[in-house]
């Protein structure tokens, strides 16, 4: 039988904040569940266009992610989340690197995600520097 909820653990990599685990139902988004639990995550458009809500998948169903060249997660998100609509703010390279838009993503597995404003800033570099 399919479980209706999944445990989603939220970690703020660059902020001095406590890790939190919330139960997210399969028909709600991580952002909605966080709000319900009174946890403030950054967001903007809530339609998958702006990337403000970006998280990075660190672990799925207890499996440690294999470290990529840059030491970041290389876990595929395909089995972990289902999107309500297309994640337009993410390019292929972002999706391949495990980035996920929490405003439109509902979990399909227990997982651990890096969240907070600093994750969004990983999406693009200063091209001149």
């Amino acid at each position: 039988m399919v479980r209706q909820h999944h445990d989603v653990t939220l970690e703020w990599p660059d902020a001095d904040r406590e890790t939190r685990t919330i139960a997210v139902s399969e028909d709600e988004t991580v952002l909605e569940a966080a709000k319900r639990a009174d946890i403030a995550l950054p967001f903007g458009c809530r339609t998958g266009a702006c990337g403000t809500c970006t998280g990075r998948l660190l672990e799925v169903d207890g499996a440690e992610p294999a470290a990529g060249d840059d030491g970041r997660s290389t876990v595929g998100i395909d089995g972990a989340f289902s999107y309500r609509r297309s994640p337009r703010a993410l390019k292929d390279r972002h999706r391949d690197a495990g980035y996920v838009l929490l405003c439109i993503a509902s979990p399909r597995a227990d997982c651990r995600i890096a969240v907070g404003a600093s994750v969004h800033t990983e999406l693009v570099d200063n091209p001149w520097k």
Binding site: C50, T52, H120
Partner: protein
């Protein structure tokens, strides 16, 4: 669309004073200069979107009265009901273009959320304590297949027009949303499909023309600036000239590679004029555009992508070019990135800000086809000579600018767009924005930093905030239009 006819009975300049007209604003640009009081308050878009600060964006009311005890302080904050808006640009329900409309008041601020697509209406009857009175929720906006509201101007009969950068999904095309004078969505202003990309716009009703510029699809610019998108042609480089009454595009000019990302677009204030300027941020150029009535007899020149037509047509020509600069800590020459421009009320000077270099500048545009550099200030940014004011380190370059009606005081803030700030000036998020000021001598054409003036968004109660567009309560150089 609304009835925006050019009245034939517009009264000549210099014959008005405050009491000769019934509507809001000033009868002429010259009247604004002569009759406008010194700005004592500023409304400034202030934002937390994209940060971990758990607070909604707000409109800051800043005290600009040097005789006040709270000079340079944020004296009121109108908090919005939701987080996630990204307040960016905003405007009045009525300006000098409705100066002959009895019963209309410059009273309500229309404050869109760039990321949320939520539109707020703030009643500023009490100039020091404005109040939120209406909220149009994003879902209502998406019904018109539009998102990402940007520039707000009033239409001369009390309606409001907002440029929208994307469709309901944050993709192209964008368009224009019209609100009625009860602040309800009236519908789309233009027949859909007139343009793909959108950004800023300005209209010149006596000439029956509107001009609009191009940024990109929201999904392109929202996450941050990605060179891949430049290579893929996802950023704009065109100007659109519209029939203001019909709401249709008459002419499109492709500015080419030197006109990449044409942002703020300004007509001269004089209602007779067809001259204007647009800053091409990524190419670090400024273009002059004007209507060439003799175009019929000429071959199309290089600056224009269109064939000439019998009735004359608009031309655009690069008139200012900012060179990239080498910096020891950067791998590639750093572009200037002129992100905002404005024209003084007397149409004499063009001011602008080079956000990456850290410069505010003024050019004499008495001859608009040959702007002459008058002065500049090197402050903040990557190269600024002044890197702190009153011991407060500047974390970014000058960005949104606003000028007093008399042209003697230039103010600016330092945040561009939260995700772009993070990329180019990550300290901005940690320290917050500042508002700074320069004293301008319009007679000599000089500018001088006022080191006594500093408004610090780093000290906001919920945490450091960013600050963006600035407006005066009674009209300013970037929102008033004349018929």
């Amino acid at each position: 669309m609304s009835d925006a006819n050019t009245p034939s009975d517009v009264e000549p300049e210099h014959e008005h004073d405050h009491h000769d007209h019934e509507g809001p604003g000033y009868a002429t640009p010259q009247a604004a200069i002569e009759e406008g009081d010194r700005e004592e308050l500023a409304y400034v878009m202030s934002l937390y979107v994209g940060t971990d600060v758990d607070a909604p964006d707000f409109v800051a009311v800043v005290d600009l009265d040097p005789d006040s005890e709270t000079y340079c302080e944020i004296v009121d904050r109108i908090e919005l009901p939701n987080r996630g808006d990204e307040l960016h640009h905003f405007g009045w329900n009525a300006c000098s273009s409705s100066c002959h409309m009895e019963g209309l008041e410059r009273r309500h601020l229309i404050v869109p959320g760039q990321r949320s697509s939520r539109i707020h209406v703030i009643d500023a009857k009490d100039r020091r304590n404005p109040e939120l009175v209406e909220v149009i929720e994003p879902e209502e906006v998406f019904e018109y297949d539009l998102s990402a509201p940007h520039t707000v101007h009033c239409i001369p009969d009390g309606e409001i027009l907002i440029s929208m950068l994307g469709d309901a999904d944050g993709e192209l095309p964008g368009g224009f949303l019209e609100l009625n004078d009860d602040f309800e969505i009236e519908g789309r202003w233009e027949p859909p499909g007139e343009i793909e990309m959108n950004y800023d716009y300005w209209y010149q009703p006596r000439q029956n023309v509107m001009v609009s510029s191009e940024w990109a699809a929201p999904k392109t610019y929202y996450p941050g600036f990605d060179l891949e998108d430049v290579e893929a042609g996802n950023y704009g480089q065109r100007l659109h000239f519209w029939d203001w009454e019909d709401g249709t595009v008459e002419q499109t000019i492709d500015l080419g590679e030197e006109g990449l990302i044409p942002l703020e677009v300004r007509f001269l204030h004089t209602p007779e004029s067809t001259h204007g300027f647009v800053g091409a941020a990524l190419s670090s150029n400024v273009f002059h555009f004007w209507r060439d009535e003799s175009a019929a007899s000429r071959a199309a020149d290089d600056a224009s992508g269109d064939e000439p037509r019998a009735t004359g047509e608009y031309r655009a020509e690069k008139v200012i070019d900012f060179e990239s600069r080498e910096h020891d800590d950067w791998d590639m020459p750093v572009p200037a990135l002129p992100t905002d421009i404005l024209i003084s009320m007397d149409d004499r000077y063009l001011f602008g800000s080079n956000w990456l270099h850290g410069e505010v500048w003024m050019y004499d545009i008495s001859d608009p086809s040959n702007p002459r550099r008058a002065d500049s200030l090197s402050v903040g940014g990557t190269f600024g000579e002044v890197q702190e004011v009153q011991g407060r380190e500047l974390s970014a370059g000058p960005q949104m600018i606003q000028l007093s009606l008399d042209g003697e005081r230039l103010y600016w803030t330092t945040s561009l767009f939260s995700s772009w700030d993070e990329q180019f000036y990550p300290e901005e998020g940690e320290r917050g924005s500042v508002m700074l000021k320069a004293d301008i001598d319009p007679r000599k054409g000089t500018m001088e930093l006022d080191e006594d003036f500093l408004v610090d968004w780093g000290e906001c109660p919920a945490g450091p905030a960013r600050a963006h567009e600035i407006r005066w309560p009674d009209g300013d150089c970037t929102s008033d239009v004349w018929q």
